[in-house]
């Protein structure tokens, strides 16, 4: 397989595309069919073989543009479609004197031979292994090594020798330009080959960080991560699922199926059980202490709506309001900030909020609803109204309480968590994205 393609696969993988070996073989075959000549065609072709979703297509195009932008380093090159990294090996570049008038590098600079210069730089970059760059601090190091490979020392000698003459000045300008080009080249390689690794590492870290401790600048990335996780669950559980109850004959459907043979049961149909999608009612504490969690929980749940058969959301601090409509209508982020502005950041009163719920919405609970309450259970020494939670638990299928605090803190100070806990089927600590993911996938798995 061709060298530049392999490099491109590495770059594409680093950009987050999943390219299997089989796909890379296909890509090589496809390129052999269409050839390298036309950039557009090459892009379309590789995109067909390598990028398998709309998002991946976008990522692919960015990566493709970045990868093949290297050609701009040799503006005079007449064959833009030629393999970019495969440099003509016969270009004379040396580490020492090239005999005659100064170094090979100097001659190329004076001749203004951009094509050979670029080719020499690519070859030098290959030799110093610029593709193994991992972190941005290595940029200068690699740039320097590339120039040394190209024969910088000899060039410097030329410059010193020709000091004061117009040739010297031209060489000096040429050298400075080369420096910049080398830096650009290394930067590009950094973007291409190292970015992905760093990104993935950060994502892994983020998933394990406490949701309250997440930096403002990481919020956007976090949202993307939440969406991706939710999307995965939604795909897995988004369809109606059935489970065969083996051995139980569905007489009615068997007769129907065998009508054509006068009801002689050639084919048997077995009874199946539908696995219902969960119907959720979510109560989120959006008081100062837990607001950050509420945000991510709501984001999570709304991103996987198709895996649920119903979702109604309520937010409370001192009082409780229904927020489903705001969330349905607006972009989740905007909606969440509106909700926060409405009820958020006050001090929480669980008793009052539960009473609000009982007054207005108790009727929406039935034997198929799961109630999820997100909160720390700290009601600032107000009446916890455990009796209402008990009634809610009796009416609904189950109550799940997610608490961002570690278990050891439950029941300390003004926490009423231990008094609520007996009425909940599940209580779980939920302070990182990973824990959130686990709780929700358990919820989806266990519904029948």
């Amino acid at each position: 397989m061709d060298g530049p393609l392999i490099d491109f696969f590495r770059a594409a993988r680093s950009a987050g595309l999943r390219i299997s070996p089989a796909e890379s073989i296909d890509a090589a075959r496809a390129v052999r069919v269409v050839g390298w000549e036309d950039r557009e065609t090459l892009r379309d072709t590789l995109s067909l073989v390598l990028a398998k979703t709309v998002e991946e297509k976008q990522q692919f195009e960015d990566c493709f543009a970045l990868f093949f932008r290297r050609d701009s380093l040799r503006p005079e090159a007449e064959t833009p479609g030629e393999a970019p990294a495969s440099s003509p090996q016969d270009v004379a570049f040396g580490e020492g004197e090239g005999g005659g008038g100064g170094s090979a590098l100097g001659r190329m600079l004076l001749a203004g031979d951009q094509a050979s210069l670029a080719a020499a730089m690519e070859a030098a970059a290959d030799e110093v292994g610029v593709r193994n760059i991992a972190v941005f601090t290595q940029v200068n190091l690699f740039a320097r090594r590339i120039l040394e490979r190209m024969g910088l020392a000899a060039l410097e000698r030329d410059i010193t020798a020709a000091e004061g003459t117009p040739t010297g000045a031209r060489l000096r300008r040429g050298r400075d330009l080369l420096r910049e080009q080398a830096r650009d080249l290394v930067q590009q390689n950094l973007l291409l080959f190292a970015q992905g690794e760093t990104e993935r590492w950060r994502e892994r870290m983020l998933a394990q960080t406490r949701l309250t401790a997440i930096d403002r600048r990481d919020q956007e990335r976090m949202r993307i991560l939440v969406r991706a996780m939710a999307r995965r669950l939604a795909v897995q559980y988004g369809r109606t699922r059935r489970r065969d109850r083996r051995g139980v004959l569905d007489a009615r459907r068997t007769l129907r199926r065998n009508m054509a043979w006068g009801g002689l049961p050639f084919l048997t149909v077995w009874k199946q059980q539908r696995i219902d999608k969960p119907r959720l009612v979510v109560l989120c504490d959006v008081s100062g202490s837990v607001a950050a969690f509420a945000q991510f929980l709501l984001l999570f749940l709304y991103a996987m709506k198709e895996a649920l058969s119903g979702l109604r959301a309520f937010a409370f601090a001192g009082d409780l309001i229904e927020v489903s409509e705001i969330l349905e209508r607006e972009e989740t982020e905007a909606a969440i900030s509106r909700i926060m502005a409405k009820v958020g950041f006050g001090s929480s009163n669980y008793g009052n909020s539960l009473a609000d719920f009982e007054r207005g919405f108790m009727s929406i609970l039935d034997s198929r609803t799961t109630v999820i309450i997100l909160g720390d259970g700290r009601g600032n020494r107000t009446d916890p109204r455990v009796d209402i939670l008990q009634r809610m638990a009796n009416r609904s299928k189950q109550v799940i309480w997610l608490n961002p605090e570690p278990r050891t803190f439950w029941g300390t100070g003004d926490s009423d968590m231990l008094r609520y806990a007996p009425h909940c089927r599940v209580t779980a600590v939920c302070s990182t994205l990973q824990q959130l993911d686990r709780v929700v996938s358990d919820l989806l798995k266990n519904t029948r």
Binding site: A30, A51, K52
Partner: protein
């Protein structure tokens, strides 16, 4: 293995022209996909919003190559009995009844049960042979002597299990039938799968396909499509209506009008003998483009603005 369709023009440009002759205006990526599907003998998975011509592409490929189009519509609960083959139970049953006497005389000569069974074995698999096999779309596509275009429509609507079942066919163009053996395609069919992204398809399926995403076309391409599909539209009207639809797609709508809606609208305008777009006309026929009441309401206040813009742009082009 050199099917008839392999002797056809061998360049992307030729593919594009061929499709155009079949009445399908293909963009560069689409033509590339069809061309590659030919040469790599790989299926194409076509994704994109409803009504951008995914199914139409398969029809165009079939008519261009002069092959039969075998279409299989996917839905939840589709199984191999409906997709691949089925035994003709009725015929089997009937034949056993009719042949009862024959079997009697055939086996009557044998004195013991073992001997009778032995005799029966000698006759071969009477009732599980080709004669009693009812081929369904997939098997028909594999056995088409000239090759065929197989369209697996809306594969995302089928169950995940069915998707797994497709894998063998897609990668090797062969399929195993327990009673008969492996059926391998003499001439591999050209396979197109379409998906509306109802759910994400499995990686295994995607890996075996070329992935083509057809988006909504730009004004130039859409103009060409309208010209090819609805030849009765005057040029100035065509520019106007295309640029109006393009403008409409910029609005925040639940369901954006796609190419099929543009074509419908163009046909409606031809029927109404319209020479130019005007506010009255657009308002009256807006329900051809927009399929939701809320969308029509949302677009209503912006109509005159879009109309002006469309007229201006048409003038520049005209």
């Amino acid at each position: 293995m050199s099917p008839a369709w392999h002797s056809l023009p061998r360049s992307i440009g030729a593919t594009m022209r061929g499709l155009e002759e079949a009445g399908y205006i293909a963009s560069q990526p689409i033509a590339t996909a069809v061309y590659l599907a030919h040469h790599l003998q790989k299926p194409i998975l076509v994704e994109g919003p409803a009504g951008v011509g995914k199914t139409e592409l398969a029809k165009a490929v079939a008519s261009w190559l002069g092959l039969g189009l075998i279409r299989m519509q996917c839905y939840e609960g589709l199984d191999e009995a409906k997709a691949l083959y089925e035994w003709k139970y009725g015929k089997q049953l009937l034949y056993t009844q009719i042949l009862k006497d024959k079997l009697g005389t055939l086996l009557g000569a044998e004195s013991t049960l073992e001997a009778a069974v032995e005799r029966l074995h000698g006759v071969g698999d009477l009732f599980f042979s080709e004669h009693f096999l009812e081929p369904r779309p997939l098997l028909r596509a594999l056995r088409a002597p000239e090759g065929a275009v197989l369209l697996v429509d809306e594969v995302d609507k089928a169950d995940q299990e069915f998707e797994a079942f497709l894998l063998e066919i897609l990668s090797d163009y062969q399929v195993s039938i327990p009673e008969i053996g492996t059926v391998r395609a003499e001439v591999p069919p050209i396979v197109l799968l379409t998906s509306n992204s109802m759910r994400d398809l499995g990686d295994a399926l995607k890996r075996r396909c070329l992935h083509l995403h057809i988006g909504l076309p730009d004004a130039k391409l859409e103009g060409r499509i309208v010209a090819a599909r609805v030849p009765g539209v005057a040029e100035s009207l065509r520019h106007q209506l295309v640029s109006f639809v393009q403008g409409l797609r910029g609005l925040d709508l639940k369901k954006l009008p796609s190419v099929s809606e543009t074509l419908d609208w163009a046909r409606v305008l031809v029927l109404l003998h319209a020479r130019e777009l005007d506010a009255e006309l657009v308002r009256g026929t807006l329900n051809v483009l927009l399929k939701f009441e809320s969308d029509i309401e949302a677009a209503e206040p912006r109509l005159s603005e879009l109309l002006d813009k469309a007229r201006r742009e048409a003038e520049i082009l005209g």
